[in-house]
Amino acid sequence: MIDVENLSKSYGPVPAVRGITFQVAAGEIVGFLGPNGAGKTTTMRMLTGYLPPSDGRVKIAGFDVFEQPMEARAEIGYLPESPPVYPELTVTEYLSFVAELKGVSRSKKSARIATVIEQLHLGDMRKRLIGHLSKGFRQRVGLAQALIHEPKVLILDEPTVGLDPAQIVEIRNLIRGLAKDRTVILSTHILPEVSAICRRVIIISGGRIAGEGALDTLIAGAGARQQLKIVAKGPTWGAIESALTTAGAKVSRTGGVEPLHEATVVSPSGDDLRETVFRAAVAGGWTLLEMTPQGGSLEDVFMKLTTTEEGVAAA
């Protein structure tokens, strides 16, 4: 649905995006993740056809964004970093304007406006001036604007930036709901946002793709250490320790009051230790009360991928 090939953009001599290539299949919801200044907004703007690329091409729903701009733009719903609203219009006036702008037919217009107002819970606000709305509501109006013409592709640039925690949760839920029947790409510099919404992530750093893939694969593939926190109940710590060490793990006790023992178990080889720990407990006759995998989070992956100069090519 989104097909990006060797896309580059320079501002004068300064390269912002350097030859990125990726695809997003129909129905996917993809996170475009990177630190500030990585080239996220520039990429989003090139996807929508707002910015002409220095090199490469973008196809949306089969239409080249620059060769067939009218056809491509009709399939795109776009929410820029700050919602493009007119404060002097009411919500309904604004949505009516955008609907006409996007080519929604006269007969469908009022039904579409009613649908998006319902979808984004803007019912009580429909007659209010946008200038009088809170930031959260304005963001919803921005989303409503992006949906009004039933686009196949939704492009959202930092959709939750500047919102309070409750609003963030709400907008994320809305996006997840919207993603059911369309293709979504959203940019963000907030890691939990990606794990909350997306199944696949593209990590961009310094204008290049530093990593790409399903979240789980990325986390595993980046060589994050396997580490477990366990709480065991047994007669002596020594027995537990020797059982785990024999199985090939490095163990250190971190606390607990007899007969409870809290410990950290690390696998030097990077293997999954959960089964090993379980079997050791069964064989040794002690009880495993708690076992929590630690480390190997998206944060680790992100730091690893965006702080090294070369990065890891696709997972």
Binding site: R45, T48, G49, Y50, L51, P52, P69, M70, E71, R73, A74, I76, Y78, P80, E81, S82, P84, V85, Y86, P87, E88, L89, E93, F97, V98, E100, L101, K102, G103, Q145
Partner: protein, 238 residues
Amino acid sequence: MRGVITIWKKEAWTYATSARWYVLAALMVAFTSLWFWFANLQEGRQATLAHIMGLLSFLLMAVTPIFTMRLIAEESNRGTLELLLTSPVREWQIVLGKFLGALTAYVAIFAITLLYPAILMRFAEPDVGPMLAQYAGMFGLSCAFISVGLFASSVTDSQVLAAVIGYILLFGFWILNWIAEALPGSLQSIGKAASLLAHLEKFNRGIIDAVDVFYYVAFTAIFLLLSLRFVEARRWAA
């Protein structure tokens, strides 16, 4: 065409719901009606619109840059230009729609001033032909002024700067007529040919000359095309 009409409607609506239009309309009506009183509604005066039109053309020059400074600059400032430029409409449709929106707001002001010819016709027997020519001239002048204002608004993000640029350009084209007087032969005719004011004279005398019509059409077209270039250039500068 859909794009043009959509943006035209939106601009006209924005003016119709803004204090800016009402203040400017009130100003123009107040000044012209005072002038109408002094110049026409006294004993022994002619039943003609020439005086009113002279003042109206000056007032239009005085208010147009303020009236049009928001057209593109404000969109750019608010980030709504990004919405327009990523919608399935062409840049020329945006420019033309905005031009027509502002023009509609002016035509609405002219509609109010129709009160003056109505009064003249009630109490005297003025020539209708010249009055039509005078309104045609005012329409042409408005097109030219608005296109300059739109252009000024397209070159900068700052509305204040847009107004300043608009004033410089309009004033320049306005006084070209006087500057030309001081110039020698051929330069003088070029200066007069380019002046906004010189082309209004015949309209005001009740003559619609094809040369003058062509002048206003060409003048407006040139500034609309320049505006279009600058709107397109905003993509590259973004």
